[in-house]
Symmetry: C2
Subunit: 244 residues, 2 copies
């Protein structure tokens, strides 16, 4: 699925943006980069900013027109900072775009197209697209740097892929500490209660105060290890302190 | 709400990353930047990459410790590339983190903390945080550039704010073309049917074929203008063509 998703950069002016875009792609599992008439490429700035994603740079194809870049694609989404008056279906939310793009990518190549840093895409280039998407931003300052826009849309694409039932994505999680049983919690509550009374904080069992503190500890969801830690602290508080 | 959200960058090595982060912040409506012991600041690289977000750079505070940067905050989320074994509550999804951060920011300052480019945050600095968040990424290459991480988390924060009932966010939408009425659609369907029969494509009314084509046009959701366009085309197709 992700391998069917192509990133196309049209007439990029700064080679650094190509490098940073390649890095952004790779962090989000994308590897198919096509450059339409880049101003300077290959370039040391592109390689420098790719920082570990040089493989994406090295395998990038360079073509002369957007038509050539997307001819085999079944869905072509043009990323555009400004809403155009062209009647192309428009995604208000990158999240929605990403879900549909990933679904289309299950069986055929698709593309996300980014325009020039200053001028975006021409009307002719938008005609090569099936959809437009814009990234909702600050109305007073809403133009993201090109490689940042690539990062955001790649991030939403990777998220949509992770959440897709067919991706079989398994997140890397640290081993979860075991949770205590109800019985262990009951013992802890009883211990806490004894210490509160022995200290003079409660002169007699006080259901409301005890319930409130028990709820606080419950919200913290202590693991078994942490509960032991608390029990140990309570035991120390119960022991008579050394004099002098 | 957004004004209560602070971005804290700890010991940033490359001033360019500070500038790019300021730009990323501004595109997503954030303006409160605090720098803990930046290596080089102020710096021309920071201003150059801020590209229109110099106001964020100019109003950035510089402090000596993370503790100082977040002492007034009620929620402090440390962005960390690697899952740590420290038992700090951890957000798997930036989206979830952003919703809770925006909710906390309704009444008090909160902070999103980013560490050093190479080394992230120290254990002591993580102790200044109430939560951790990581950006799910390619397991083989998952470290985003610092300013890209700021962009992604700022984007999710802005999205959570837009979707929050109290933000009163109104998206900028182009004026929608008016939709046709059922009657206008009926006229169109009848016209299409006449042309299909007159052309010899259908020798008699054929409900299934007609229904299929009508459904196709419905999926396109033609505006009134577009329906007129289609009617005009159908009329031209009905006229006898000039001979010779």
């Amino acid at each position: 699925m992700l391998s069917n998703i192509r990133i196309v950069l049209v007439q990029t002016y700064h080679p650094g943006n190509i490098g940073a875009s390649a890095r952004a792609m790779k962090t989000m599992g994308l590897a198919d980069l096509v450059l339409v008439n880049p101003r300077c490429f290959p370039d040391s700035e592109a390689s420098r900013l790719a920082a570990g994603a040089e493989d994406v740079i090295d395998s990038a194809r360079v073509v002369a027109s957007l038509r050539e870049a997307v001819s085999d694609c079944v869905q072509v989404v043009g990323a555009s900072a400004r809403l155009r008056s062209l009647p192309l279906p428009h995604y208000d939310e990158p999240e929605t775009m990403a879900r549909e793009l990933v679904a289309s990518a299950a069986s055929d190549p698709v593309a996300l197209v980014f325009g020039r840093e200053r001028f975006g895409l021409t009307n002719d280039e938008i005609r090569c697209c099936s959809h437009q998407v814009s990234i909702p931003a600050n109305p007073d300052y809403g133009i993201l740097n090109l490689s940042q826009a690539v990062q955001v849309l790649a991030y939403e694409t990777f998220k949509a892929w992770r959440q897709h039932p067919d991706s079989h994505y398994r997140p890397v999680r640290p081993a979860a500490d075991r949770q205590p049983t109800r019985e262990q919690l009951d013992h802890f509550h009883a211990h806490l209660s004894r210490v509160m009374q022995a200290s003079g904080f409660l002169t007699q069992p006080h259901a409301r105060t005890e319930a409130q503190l028990q709820a606080l500890f419950s919200r913290a969801q202590p693991s078994r290890k942490e509960l032991s830690l608390l029990r140990g602290l309570l035991s120390s508080l119960e022991e008579p302190r050394e004099e002098g």
